[in-house]
Symmetry: C2
Subunit: 246 residues, 2 copies
DNA sequence: AAGTGGTCTAGACCACGCG
DNA sequence: GCGTGGTCTAGACCACTTC
Protein backbone atom coordinates (compact mmCIF):
# COMPACT_ATOMS: atom_id res chain seq x y z
CA UNK A 1 0.00 0.00 0.00
CA UNK A 2 1.65 3.14 -1.17
CA UNK A 3 -1.66 4.62 -2.21
CA UNK A 4 -3.11 7.79 -0.82
CA UNK A 5 -4.68 6.42 2.39
CA UNK A 6 -6.71 9.49 3.04
CA UNK A 7 -5.76 10.32 6.61
CA UNK A 8 -5.53 13.73 8.14
CA UNK A 9 -4.57 15.15 11.49
CA UNK A 10 -5.64 18.35 13.19
CA UNK A 11 -2.66 19.93 14.85
CA UNK A 12 -4.89 22.39 16.66
CA UNK A 13 -6.95 19.68 18.30
CA UNK A 14 -6.36 18.89 21.96
CA UNK A 15 -6.30 15.22 20.99
CA UNK A 16 -2.68 14.07 20.82
CA UNK A 17 -1.41 13.68 17.28
CA UNK A 18 -0.27 10.10 17.78
CA UNK A 19 -3.71 9.25 19.02
CA UNK A 20 -5.39 10.82 16.00
CA UNK A 21 -3.13 8.85 13.69
CA UNK A 22 -3.62 5.60 15.58
CA UNK A 23 -7.37 6.07 15.51
CA UNK A 24 -7.35 6.85 11.82
CA UNK A 25 -5.25 3.83 11.00
CA UNK A 26 -7.38 1.60 13.16
CA UNK A 27 -10.53 2.82 11.44
CA UNK A 28 -8.97 2.18 8.05
CA UNK A 29 -8.04 -1.34 9.05
CA UNK A 30 -11.34 -2.24 10.65
CA UNK A 31 -13.31 -0.76 7.77
CA UNK A 32 -11.41 -2.92 5.31
CA UNK A 33 -9.78 0.02 3.58
CA UNK A 34 -6.50 -1.58 4.58
CA UNK A 35 -7.17 -5.31 4.14
CA UNK A 36 -5.26 -7.99 6.07
CA UNK A 37 -1.73 -8.39 4.76
CA UNK A 38 -1.46 -4.88 3.34
CA UNK A 39 2.08 -3.53 3.48
CA UNK A 40 2.27 0.01 4.79
CA UNK A 41 4.72 2.62 3.57
CA UNK A 42 7.78 3.09 5.69
CA UNK A 43 7.61 5.19 8.82
CA UNK A 44 9.52 8.17 7.49
CA UNK A 45 7.36 8.54 4.39
CA UNK A 46 4.20 8.23 6.42
CA UNK A 47 5.46 10.79 8.90
CA UNK A 48 6.41 13.23 6.16
CA UNK A 49 3.09 12.82 4.41
CA UNK A 50 1.25 13.82 7.58
CA UNK A 51 3.79 16.50 8.47
CA UNK A 52 4.74 14.69 11.62
CA UNK A 53 8.04 13.70 13.13
CA UNK A 54 9.02 10.09 12.95
CA UNK A 55 8.81 9.47 16.72
CA UNK A 56 5.21 10.66 16.70
CA UNK A 57 4.36 8.45 13.77
CA UNK A 58 6.07 5.54 15.47
CA UNK A 59 4.19 6.08 18.69
CA UNK A 60 0.92 5.84 16.78
CA UNK A 61 2.01 2.62 15.11
CA UNK A 62 3.27 1.26 18.43
CA UNK A 63 -0.26 1.39 19.76
CA UNK A 64 -1.62 -0.63 16.87
CA UNK A 65 1.18 -3.17 17.17
CA UNK A 66 0.36 -3.45 20.84
CA UNK A 67 -3.31 -3.92 19.98
CA UNK A 68 -2.41 -6.69 17.57
CA UNK A 69 -3.52 -4.89 14.42
CA UNK A 70 -0.08 -4.29 12.88
CA UNK A 71 3.05 -6.39 12.65
CA UNK A 72 6.51 -4.89 12.20
CA UNK A 73 9.62 -6.61 10.94
CA UNK A 74 12.99 -4.93 10.92
CA UNK A 75 14.48 -4.61 7.48
CA UNK A 76 11.19 -5.50 5.88
CA UNK A 77 8.34 -3.24 6.82
CA UNK A 78 4.99 -3.03 8.51
CA UNK A 79 1.90 -5.01 7.56
CA UNK A 80 -1.69 -5.26 8.60
CA UNK A 81 -2.21 -8.50 10.51
CA UNK A 82 -3.53 -11.20 8.20
CA UNK A 83 -6.52 -12.59 9.99
CA UNK A 84 -10.20 -12.10 10.32
CA UNK A 85 -10.09 -12.84 14.02
CA UNK A 86 -8.86 -9.40 14.80
CA UNK A 87 -11.84 -8.20 16.80
CA UNK A 88 -11.75 -5.39 19.26
CA UNK A 89 -10.52 -6.88 22.50
CA UNK A 90 -8.09 -4.36 23.79
CA UNK A 91 -8.35 -5.31 27.41
CA UNK A 92 -7.83 -1.68 28.25
CA UNK A 93 -11.26 -0.82 29.50
CA UNK A 94 -11.44 -0.53 33.22
CA UNK A 95 -15.17 0.02 32.87
CA UNK A 96 -17.61 -2.75 33.48
CA UNK A 97 -16.70 -5.55 31.15
CA UNK A 98 -20.16 -6.20 29.96
CA UNK A 99 -20.96 -3.22 27.80
CA UNK A 100 -19.79 -4.87 24.63
CA UNK A 101 -22.16 -7.81 24.65
CA UNK A 102 -24.95 -5.77 23.15
CA UNK A 103 -28.42 -6.57 24.40
CA UNK A 104 -30.14 -4.60 27.13
CA UNK A 105 -28.10 -4.76 30.29
CA UNK A 106 -29.78 -4.32 33.64
CA UNK A 107 -28.57 -4.68 37.18
CA UNK A 108 -30.47 -5.78 40.25
CA UNK A 109 -28.97 -5.01 43.63
CA UNK A 110 -29.21 -8.12 45.76
CA UNK A 111 -27.45 -6.69 48.78
CA UNK A 112 -25.81 -3.49 49.97
CA UNK A 113 -24.38 -3.34 53.47
CA UNK A 114 -21.68 -1.68 55.51
CA UNK A 115 -19.73 -4.16 57.55
CA UNK A 116 -16.28 -4.56 59.11
CA UNK A 117 -13.70 -5.99 56.75
CA UNK A 118 -12.56 -9.54 57.36
CA UNK A 119 -8.89 -10.38 57.20
CA UNK A 120 -8.84 -11.41 53.58
CA UNK A 121 -10.78 -8.44 52.24
CA UNK A 122 -8.81 -6.07 54.45
CA UNK A 123 -5.57 -7.42 53.01
CA UNK A 124 -6.80 -7.05 49.45
CA UNK A 125 -7.98 -3.49 50.05
CA UNK A 126 -4.97 -2.49 52.11
CA UNK A 127 -7.04 -1.42 55.12
CA UNK A 128 -7.08 -2.47 58.75
CA UNK A 129 -9.19 -5.56 59.54
CA UNK A 130 -12.44 -4.35 61.04
CA UNK A 131 -12.51 -1.08 59.09
CA UNK A 132 -15.92 -0.49 57.54
CA UNK A 133 -16.39 -1.51 53.94
CA UNK A 134 -19.34 -1.68 51.59
CA UNK A 135 -20.41 -5.14 50.56
CA UNK A 136 -22.32 -5.15 47.28
CA UNK A 137 -24.03 -8.06 45.61
CA UNK A 138 -25.55 -7.51 42.19
CA UNK A 139 -27.11 -9.64 39.50
CA UNK A 140 -26.44 -8.58 35.92
CA UNK A 141 -28.94 -9.53 33.25
CA UNK A 142 -29.15 -8.95 29.52
CA UNK A 143 -32.55 -9.13 27.88
CA UNK A 144 -33.91 -10.56 31.11
CA UNK A 145 -31.47 -13.47 31.12
CA UNK A 146 -29.13 -13.67 34.09
CA UNK A 147 -25.53 -13.27 33.06
CA UNK A 148 -23.38 -12.57 36.07
CA UNK A 149 -23.44 -12.52 39.83
CA UNK A 150 -21.13 -9.85 41.15
CA UNK A 151 -19.86 -9.42 44.69
CA UNK A 152 -17.76 -6.38 45.50
CA UNK A 153 -16.12 -4.69 48.47
CA UNK A 154 -15.23 -0.98 48.71
CA UNK A 155 -13.77 0.91 51.68
CA UNK A 156 -16.42 3.26 53.06
CA UNK A 157 -13.76 5.95 53.39
CA UNK A 158 -13.44 6.19 49.63
CA UNK A 159 -16.96 6.96 48.49
CA UNK A 160 -20.66 6.66 49.23
CA UNK A 161 -22.90 4.04 47.69
CA UNK A 162 -26.67 3.71 47.56
CA UNK A 163 -29.01 1.10 46.13
CA UNK A 164 -30.60 3.65 43.83
CA UNK A 165 -27.34 4.62 42.19
CA UNK A 166 -26.15 1.06 41.92
CA UNK A 167 -29.30 -0.03 40.14
CA UNK A 168 -28.62 2.60 37.53
CA UNK A 169 -25.02 3.45 37.05
CA UNK A 170 -22.50 0.71 37.54
CA UNK A 171 -20.06 0.65 40.42
CA UNK A 172 -17.18 2.18 38.53
CA UNK A 173 -19.21 5.09 37.20
CA UNK A 174 -20.43 5.95 40.67
CA UNK A 175 -16.95 5.82 42.13
CA UNK A 176 -15.45 7.81 39.29
CA UNK A 177 -18.11 10.47 39.71
CA UNK A 178 -16.93 10.84 43.30
CA UNK A 179 -13.38 11.50 42.26
CA UNK A 180 -11.90 8.01 42.28
CA UNK A 181 -9.42 7.82 39.42
CA UNK A 182 -8.97 4.22 38.35
CA UNK A 183 -5.59 3.42 36.99
CA UNK A 184 -5.03 -0.30 36.95
CA UNK A 185 -6.47 -3.60 38.03
CA UNK A 186 -5.21 -7.08 38.69
CA UNK A 187 -7.46 -9.85 37.48
CA UNK A 188 -7.61 -13.60 37.83
CA UNK A 189 -9.88 -15.70 35.66
CA UNK A 190 -10.73 -19.31 36.25
CA UNK A 191 -13.64 -21.70 36.48
CA UNK A 192 -15.80 -22.92 39.31
CA UNK A 193 -18.84 -25.13 39.81
CA UNK A 194 -22.00 -23.25 40.76
CA UNK A 195 -23.05 -23.46 44.41
CA UNK A 196 -26.71 -23.48 45.37
CA UNK A 197 -27.10 -19.70 45.59
CA UNK A 198 -25.20 -19.01 42.39
CA UNK A 199 -27.16 -21.69 40.57
CA UNK A 200 -30.46 -20.24 41.66
CA UNK A 201 -29.54 -16.67 40.83
CA UNK A 202 -28.06 -17.49 37.44
CA UNK A 203 -30.66 -20.04 36.46
CA UNK A 204 -28.32 -22.99 36.01
CA UNK A 205 -27.97 -26.40 37.63
CA UNK A 206 -25.89 -26.63 40.80
CA UNK A 207 -22.39 -27.72 39.85
CA UNK A 208 -22.63 -26.20 36.37
CA UNK A 209 -19.42 -24.64 35.13
CA UNK A 210 -19.13 -20.87 35.67
CA UNK A 211 -16.46 -18.40 34.67
CA UNK A 212 -14.97 -16.96 37.85
CA UNK A 213 -13.18 -13.63 37.96
CA UNK A 214 -11.48 -11.89 40.87
CA UNK A 215 -10.31 -8.35 40.51
CA UNK A 216 -8.65 -5.68 42.59
CA UNK A 217 -8.69 -2.16 41.15
CA UNK A 218 -6.30 0.63 42.13
CA UNK A 219 -6.45 4.41 41.86
CA UNK A 220 -3.91 6.81 40.44
CA UNK A 221 -1.83 6.55 43.60
CA UNK A 222 -1.69 2.80 43.24
CA UNK A 223 -3.85 2.13 46.28
CA UNK A 224 -6.58 -0.52 46.15
CA UNK A 225 -10.04 1.00 45.99
CA UNK A 226 -12.20 -1.97 45.09
CA UNK A 227 -12.08 -5.72 45.04
CA UNK A 228 -14.62 -8.18 43.78
CA UNK A 229 -15.47 -11.69 42.75
CA UNK A 230 -17.76 -12.24 39.83
CA UNK A 231 -19.19 -15.43 38.37
CA UNK A 232 -20.54 -15.55 34.83
CA UNK A 233 -22.66 -18.08 33.01
CA UNK A 234 -20.16 -20.02 30.93
CA UNK A 235 -22.48 -20.21 27.94
CA UNK A 236 -22.80 -16.45 27.77
CA UNK A 237 -19.45 -15.04 28.67
CA UNK A 238 -15.74 -15.42 28.12
CA UNK A 239 -12.67 -13.22 28.26
CA UNK A 240 -10.84 -12.38 25.09
CA UNK A 241 -7.48 -10.74 24.70
CA UNK A 242 -4.50 -10.38 22.44
CA UNK A 243 -0.97 -11.29 23.39
CA UNK A 244 1.90 -9.47 21.73
CA UNK A 245 5.50 -10.63 21.58
CA UNK A 246 7.79 -7.99 23.10
CA UNK B 1 12.73 8.54 47.27
CA UNK B 2 15.46 10.89 46.20
CA UNK B 3 18.11 8.58 47.56
CA UNK B 4 20.87 7.05 45.50
CA UNK B 5 18.97 4.09 44.03
CA UNK B 6 22.07 2.35 42.84
CA UNK B 7 21.28 1.71 39.22
CA UNK B 8 23.71 1.62 36.37
CA UNK B 9 23.53 1.17 32.64
CA UNK B 10 26.08 -0.16 30.20
CA UNK B 11 26.04 1.94 27.07
CA UNK B 12 28.24 -0.57 25.26
CA UNK B 13 25.85 -3.45 25.84
CA UNK B 14 23.67 -4.62 22.97
CA UNK B 15 20.74 -4.58 25.38
CA UNK B 16 18.72 -1.40 24.77
CA UNK B 17 19.25 1.26 27.42
CA UNK B 18 15.55 1.62 28.18
CA UNK B 19 15.38 -2.10 28.76
CA UNK B 20 18.33 -2.07 31.13
CA UNK B 21 16.73 0.74 33.10
CA UNK B 22 13.31 -0.93 33.16
CA UNK B 23 14.86 -4.17 34.33
CA UNK B 24 16.85 -2.42 37.04
CA UNK B 25 13.81 -0.54 38.29
CA UNK B 26 11.70 -3.66 38.25
CA UNK B 27 14.30 -5.55 40.24
CA UNK B 28 14.48 -2.73 42.77
CA UNK B 29 10.71 -2.78 43.15
CA UNK B 30 10.33 -6.53 43.39
CA UNK B 31 13.21 -6.83 45.83
CA UNK B 32 11.59 -4.30 48.13
CA UNK B 33 14.33 -1.73 47.69
CA UNK B 34 11.59 0.55 46.41
CA UNK B 35 8.63 -0.29 48.64
CA UNK B 36 5.02 0.22 47.54
CA UNK B 37 4.06 3.89 47.56
CA UNK B 38 7.60 5.17 47.11
CA UNK B 39 7.75 8.41 45.15
CA UNK B 40 10.39 8.44 42.44
CA UNK B 41 12.44 11.44 41.46
CA UNK B 42 11.24 13.29 38.41
CA UNK B 43 12.05 12.01 34.96
CA UNK B 44 14.62 14.64 34.08
CA UNK B 45 16.67 14.14 37.24
CA UNK B 46 16.60 10.39 36.80
CA UNK B 47 17.64 10.71 33.17
CA UNK B 48 20.50 13.06 34.02
CA UNK B 49 21.70 10.84 36.82
CA UNK B 50 22.02 7.93 34.40
CA UNK B 51 23.34 10.10 31.58
CA UNK B 52 20.34 9.33 29.46
CA UNK B 53 17.97 11.49 27.49
CA UNK B 54 14.53 12.03 28.89
CA UNK B 55 12.72 10.08 26.13
CA UNK B 56 14.84 7.03 26.88
CA UNK B 57 14.15 7.32 30.58
CA UNK B 58 10.46 7.74 29.85
CA UNK B 59 10.37 4.70 27.63
CA UNK B 60 11.77 2.61 30.45
CA UNK B 61 9.18 3.95 32.86
CA UNK B 62 6.45 3.43 30.26
CA UNK B 63 7.11 -0.27 30.36
CA UNK B 64 6.72 -0.45 34.11
CA UNK B 65 3.55 1.61 34.00
CA UNK B 66 2.27 -0.78 31.37
CA UNK B 67 3.22 -3.72 33.58
CA UNK B 68 1.32 -2.19 36.48
CA UNK B 69 4.36 -1.56 38.67
CA UNK B 70 4.42 2.23 38.47
CA UNK B 71 1.71 4.89 38.47
CA UNK B 72 2.20 8.34 36.96
CA UNK B 73 0.21 11.48 37.64
CA UNK B 74 0.73 14.68 35.74
CA UNK B 75 1.84 17.57 37.89
CA UNK B 76 2.53 15.24 40.79
CA UNK B 77 5.03 12.55 40.05
CA UNK B 78 5.58 8.83 39.74
CA UNK B 79 5.05 6.28 42.47
CA UNK B 80 5.51 2.59 43.01
CA UNK B 81 2.11 0.92 43.02
CA UNK B 82 0.89 0.42 46.56
CA UNK B 83 -0.10 -3.19 46.71
CA UNK B 84 1.32 -6.55 47.51
CA UNK B 85 -0.63 -8.20 44.74
CA UNK B 86 1.80 -6.99 42.14
CA UNK B 87 3.05 -10.33 40.93
CA UNK B 88 4.70 -11.01 37.65
CA UNK B 89 1.90 -11.62 35.19
CA UNK B 90 2.85 -9.61 32.20
CA UNK B 91 0.89 -11.65 29.72
CA UNK B 92 3.78 -11.24 27.36
CA UNK B 93 4.97 -14.81 27.11
CA UNK B 94 3.95 -16.53 23.96
CA UNK B 95 5.58 -19.67 25.28
CA UNK B 96 3.58 -22.38 26.90
CA UNK B 97 1.72 -20.82 29.76
CA UNK B 98 2.57 -23.46 32.24
CA UNK B 99 6.22 -22.91 32.96
CA UNK B 100 5.60 -20.67 35.93
CA UNK B 101 3.68 -23.17 38.04
CA UNK B 102 6.85 -24.78 39.31
CA UNK B 103 6.69 -28.51 39.83
CA UNK B 104 7.92 -31.00 37.27
CA UNK B 105 6.03 -30.57 34.02
CA UNK B 106 5.69 -33.50 31.65
CA UNK B 107 3.75 -34.00 28.47
CA UNK B 108 2.20 -37.17 27.09
CA UNK B 109 1.24 -37.24 23.45
CA UNK B 110 -2.25 -38.75 23.18
CA UNK B 111 -2.57 -38.31 19.44
CA UNK B 112 -0.66 -37.03 16.45
CA UNK B 113 -2.20 -37.25 13.00
CA UNK B 114 -2.28 -35.55 9.63
CA UNK B 115 -5.79 -34.96 8.43
CA UNK B 116 -7.69 -32.62 6.12
CA UNK B 117 -8.84 -29.44 7.80
CA UNK B 118 -12.54 -29.06 8.54
CA UNK B 119 -14.28 -25.82 7.76
CA UNK B 120 -13.89 -24.32 11.18
CA UNK B 121 -10.21 -25.14 11.61
CA UNK B 122 -9.48 -24.07 8.04
CA UNK B 123 -11.08 -20.70 8.71
CA UNK B 124 -9.11 -20.21 11.90
CA UNK B 125 -5.83 -21.13 10.21
CA UNK B 126 -6.55 -19.23 7.02
CA UNK B 127 -6.12 -22.28 4.77
CA UNK B 128 -8.38 -24.01 2.28
CA UNK B 129 -10.78 -26.58 3.76
CA UNK B 130 -9.34 -30.02 3.10
CA UNK B 131 -5.72 -28.86 3.24
CA UNK B 132 -3.65 -31.17 5.43
CA UNK B 133 -3.08 -30.14 9.03
CA UNK B 134 -1.52 -31.76 12.05
CA UNK B 135 -3.89 -32.64 14.84
CA UNK B 136 -2.15 -32.92 18.19
CA UNK B 137 -3.62 -34.03 21.49
CA UNK B 138 -1.44 -33.82 24.57
CA UNK B 139 -1.90 -34.27 28.29
CA UNK B 140 0.12 -31.99 30.53
CA UNK B 141 0.98 -33.15 34.01
CA UNK B 142 2.91 -31.65 36.91
CA UNK B 143 4.32 -34.00 39.51
CA UNK B 144 2.27 -36.77 37.96
CA UNK B 145 -1.00 -34.90 38.44
CA UNK B 146 -2.96 -34.15 35.26
CA UNK B 147 -3.24 -30.42 34.69
CA UNK B 148 -4.32 -29.75 31.15
CA UNK B 149 -5.63 -31.47 28.05
CA UNK B 150 -4.41 -29.70 24.95
CA UNK B 151 -5.70 -30.06 21.41
CA UNK B 152 -3.90 -28.19 18.62
CA UNK B 153 -3.98 -27.84 14.86
CA UNK B 154 -1.03 -26.73 12.69
CA UNK B 155 -0.88 -26.52 8.88
CA UNK B 156 1.46 -29.24 7.60
CA UNK B 157 2.96 -26.70 5.21
CA UNK B 158 4.46 -24.75 8.08
CA UNK B 159 6.57 -27.30 9.89
CA UNK B 160 7.08 -30.95 10.69
CA UNK B 161 6.00 -32.58 13.91
CA UNK B 162 6.84 -35.94 15.47
CA UNK B 163 5.72 -37.68 18.62
CA UNK B 164 9.28 -37.81 19.92
CA UNK B 165 9.81 -34.08 19.70
CA UNK B 166 6.39 -33.29 21.11
CA UNK B 167 6.99 -35.44 24.16
CA UNK B 168 10.06 -33.41 24.88
CA UNK B 169 9.97 -29.89 23.66
CA UNK B 170 6.63 -28.14 23.63
CA UNK B 171 4.83 -27.24 20.45
CA UNK B 172 6.05 -23.68 20.31
CA UNK B 173 9.69 -24.58 20.79
CA UNK B 174 9.52 -27.08 17.95
CA UNK B 175 7.88 -24.63 15.63
CA UNK B 176 10.24 -21.82 16.53
CA UNK B 177 13.20 -24.10 15.91
CA UNK B 178 11.88 -24.58 12.37
CA UNK B 179 11.81 -20.87 11.71
CA UNK B 180 8.30 -19.93 12.75
CA UNK B 181 8.45 -16.49 14.35
CA UNK B 182 5.54 -16.02 16.70
CA UNK B 183 4.36 -12.49 17.01
CA UNK B 184 0.91 -12.38 18.52
CA UNK B 185 -1.99 -14.52 19.62
CA UNK B 186 -5.67 -14.08 20.22
CA UNK B 187 -7.02 -15.88 23.24
CA UNK B 188 -10.42 -16.59 24.67
CA UNK B 189 -10.84 -17.89 28.19
CA UNK B 190 -14.03 -19.33 29.60
CA UNK B 191 -15.40 -22.28 31.49
CA UNK B 192 -16.87 -25.60 30.44
CA UNK B 193 -18.14 -28.75 32.09
CA UNK B 194 -15.90 -31.79 31.57
CA UNK B 195 -17.09 -34.34 29.02
CA UNK B 196 -16.40 -38.03 29.51
CA UNK B 197 -13.01 -38.06 27.78
CA UNK B 198 -11.79 -34.88 29.45
CA UNK B 199 -12.96 -36.14 32.84
CA UNK B 200 -11.11 -39.41 32.43
CA UNK B 201 -7.92 -37.81 31.21
CA UNK B 202 -7.84 -35.09 33.85
CA UNK B 203 -9.01 -37.26 36.71
CA UNK B 204 -12.14 -35.31 37.58
CA UNK B 205 -15.84 -36.09 37.63
CA UNK B 206 -17.77 -35.67 34.40
CA UNK B 207 -19.41 -32.24 34.45
CA UNK B 208 -16.76 -30.77 36.71
CA UNK B 209 -15.85 -27.17 35.93
CA UNK B 210 -12.79 -26.72 33.71
CA UNK B 211 -10.99 -23.64 32.51
CA UNK B 212 -11.29 -23.55 28.73
CA UNK B 213 -8.90 -21.62 26.52
CA UNK B 214 -8.88 -21.17 22.75
CA UNK B 215 -5.95 -19.56 21.06
CA UNK B 216 -4.83 -18.70 17.57
CA UNK B 217 -1.19 -17.71 17.18
CA UNK B 218 0.23 -15.70 14.29
CA UNK B 219 3.72 -15.30 12.87
CA UNK B 220 5.60 -12.13 12.08
CA UNK B 221 3.64 -11.68 8.90
CA UNK B 222 0.40 -11.83 10.82
CA UNK B 223 -0.65 -15.16 9.36
CA UNK B 224 -2.18 -17.83 11.59
CA UNK B 225 0.24 -20.69 12.25
CA UNK B 226 -1.44 -22.57 15.07
CA UNK B 227 -4.79 -22.84 16.75
CA UNK B 228 -5.76 -24.84 19.77
CA UNK B 229 -8.26 -25.55 22.50
CA UNK B 230 -7.02 -26.37 25.95
CA UNK B 231 -8.90 -27.33 29.08
CA UNK B 232 -7.35 -27.02 32.53
CA UNK B 233 -8.33 -28.38 35.89
CA UNK B 234 -10.02 -25.45 37.59
CA UNK B 235 -8.45 -26.23 40.95
CA UNK B 236 -4.97 -26.01 39.52
CA UNK B 237 -5.01 -23.27 36.99
CA UNK B 238 -6.22 -19.76 36.33
CA UNK B 239 -5.24 -16.83 34.15
CA UNK B 240 -3.91 -13.69 35.74
CA UNK B 241 -3.28 -10.36 34.15
CA UNK B 242 -3.03 -6.65 34.79
CA UNK B 243 -5.19 -4.04 33.13
CA UNK B 244 -3.83 -0.54 32.68
CA UNK B 245 -5.85 2.57 31.99
CA UNK B 246 -4.70 4.25 28.79
C1' DA C 1 4.93 30.58 40.59
C1' DA C 2 7.16 26.28 40.58
C1' DG C 3 7.40 21.56 39.54
C1' DT C 4 5.66 17.60 37.33
C1' DG C 5 4.47 14.50 33.56
C1' DG C 6 2.49 14.69 28.39
C1' DT C 7 3.62 15.72 23.88
C1' DC C 8 6.42 16.89 19.90
C1' DT C 9 10.41 17.93 16.88
C1' DA C 10 14.51 17.12 13.78
C1' DG C 11 17.84 15.16 13.45
C1' DA C 12 21.39 10.79 14.21
C1' DC C 13 23.41 6.08 14.10
C1' DC C 14 22.74 1.16 14.23
C1' DA C 15 21.10 -3.80 13.22
C1' DC C 16 18.76 -6.54 10.34
C1' DG C 17 16.67 -8.68 5.94
C1' DC C 18 16.90 -8.89 1.31
C1' DG C 19 18.46 -8.82 -3.42
C1' DG D 1 24.45 -2.07 -0.76
C1' DC D 2 20.09 -0.46 0.26
C1' DG D 3 15.86 0.12 2.68
C1' DT D 4 13.64 -1.04 6.75
C1' DG D 5 12.54 -0.66 11.59
C1' DG D 6 15.09 -0.09 16.47
C1' DT D 7 17.24 3.05 19.33
C1' DC D 8 18.87 7.42 21.10
C1' DT D 9 19.72 12.45 21.74
C1' DA D 10 18.91 17.39 23.22
C1' DG D 11 16.26 20.22 23.19
C1' DA D 12 11.11 22.60 23.24
C1' DC D 13 6.38 23.87 24.71
C1' DC D 14 2.18 22.65 27.05
C1' DA D 15 -1.28 21.04 30.77
C1' DC D 16 -1.92 19.96 35.13
C1' DT D 17 -1.28 19.98 40.29
C1' DT D 18 0.19 22.06 44.29
C1' DC D 19 1.55 25.81 47.17
Amino acid sequence: MSGPLRLTVDKASPVPLYHQVAQGLEDAIRSGELPPGTKLDNEIDLANRLNLSRPTMRKAMDQLVQAGLLVRKRGVGTQVVGSQVRRSLELTSLHDDLQRTGGKPATEVRDLARLPAGDEIAALLGVQPGEEVYHVVRLRTTDGEPLALMENWVPCSICELSREQLAQDGLYSIMRAQGVGFQLAHQRVGAVGADAFQAEQLGVEPGAALVAMSRTAMDDLGRPVETGRHVYRADKYSFEFTLVQR
